[in-house]
Symmetry: C2
């Protein structure tokens, strides 16, 4: 597999059913996105939720109602087929895992594409800042916190964060680098003592995998794109779709274009 | 005392002998500077030392040899009289505290004005980030570290850092803000465990005063303008002058002009 495959080529592979794995490391240096697909009646509240919680829910793109295209993120993009795995939620519970949305598509669905930390991890690695879960071949550890999200309509809940252990000098550099990328979660929301944000045990993440933390490292926490999935779950919508965590939408947007500086 | 007095007015007060105190909070929102005044024969090595150690020794201005003016930092500035207190070092030891350099001035002296954290503290306060030693009416706590300076000629030694305790979210914001000010020490060099940079006890600073640290706060460490004074001491020069720590040169340079972003 060519890791630097053009993102449109990579999406065609997914669309043909030839790629059903987590997307980390694929699509070259192009932004990957978290997905939320909701009936139009909830779209305005969800947009307000994203606006209220920009660190967890930085919007990269929003579709026209009923339109399965997202041309701003990829000319040929077909949101029904270009993600390796989808979760279908009914009444706030996971109902089905799907490989295509064609059978469940509705003409009132609105797609929200939300920035993903894969984008800034790519930049961290370019700056020789080690990313532990990549070194250890694991999924990033994610934790529910006691940081309340801003509430909009039925959407609320608490922030989910991802954690990367770093030596202090690298943590300072990582804060500088990720501050340049507000469209993909931006600067960390916390560092140091995890109990201050309601995390009891760093070796027991709520999502993803635990990673090793060295004695001279500090845990650094970024707002995570799983936050909107939590908000959708807790809203107990009759119908909602998201990507399967880790199985992201690969877009045509170069990560460097997301830098504000 | 009008804290927002024009810096030239403030310097005239000092020049007349009417101000003999630490300068924190004086001169309005204008940069204050650490001083090193050395015989010309050491100037090239000291310039290289500053270039090798830009976080500790960010140069705001360098005089012509023998010239007691520094017009780039203030049109009427008289480096012999505009600082409230000077230290004269001979053979690497403090020989005298002076209120004027007129009696000891030499036509081979070169003045180095080095950025001071007062500039970024002013900005931190504008952003509602608390600065503990200011809240507690104390001098900032400063510590010798085990971080070796780059060596140039006789100048070397270890970095001196200042410490400010901050809650994590404020620490992240302070990293962003101070990153904009590389001319006044820039981003921190360390945060968290002080032993990792050779500091045993935060309540026993090597210079300045101890401050309170709350349980939810992290110590954050910035390179400090006392570093060059340490380098000058350890170089055991026959003759060298510095400001008395805390008794700074108030310049005409607005702090905001030091922001690179």
């Amino acid at each position: 597999m060519d890791l630097n495959r053009h993102p449109a080529e990579f999406r065609r592979l997914v669309r043909r059913g030839d790629f059903r794995k987590p997307t980390a490391g694929h699509g070259g240096n192009h932004a990957q996105a978290n997905l939320a697909i909701l009936p139009q009646q909830y779209a305005a509240d969800f947009l307000r939720f994203c606006q209220l919680n920009p660190k967890a829910c930085p919007l990269l793109g929003v579709s026209e109602p009923g339109d399965w295209r997202l041309p701003q993120l990829g000319a040929d993009l077909d949101i029904r087929n270009d993600v390796p795995a989808y979760y279908l939620y009914r009444e706030g519970r996971l109902a089905e895992e799907l490989e295509s949305l064609e059978a469940v598509w509705r003409d009132d669905l609105v797609t929200f594409a939300i920035g993903c930390s894969f984008s800034f991890e790519h930049v961290l690695l370019e700056y020789d800042i080690p990313v532990r879960h990549i070194e250890q071949g694991r999924n990033v550890p994610m934790f529910r916190t006691n940081i309340a999200n801003g509430v909009a309509g039925p959407f609320g809940g608490n922030m989910v964060v991802s954690m990367r252990p770093l030596r202090a000098a690298d943590a300072i550099r990582a804060i500088q680098i990720t501050s340049r990328f507000p469209g993909v979660h931006g600067a960390p929301v916390h560092l140091g003592d995890p109990r201050l944000i309601g995390i009891e045990d760093l070796q027991r993440p709520d999502y993803g995998d635990a990673v090793d933390i060295a004695p001279d490292e500090i845990p650094v926490f970024w707002a995570c794109g799983v936050t909107p999935q939590q908000a959708i779950l807790s809203a107990e919508l009759p119908f909602a779709i998201a990507h399967k965590p880790g199985y992201m939408l690969v877009t045509d947007v170069p990560n460097h274009r997301l830098a504000v500086l």
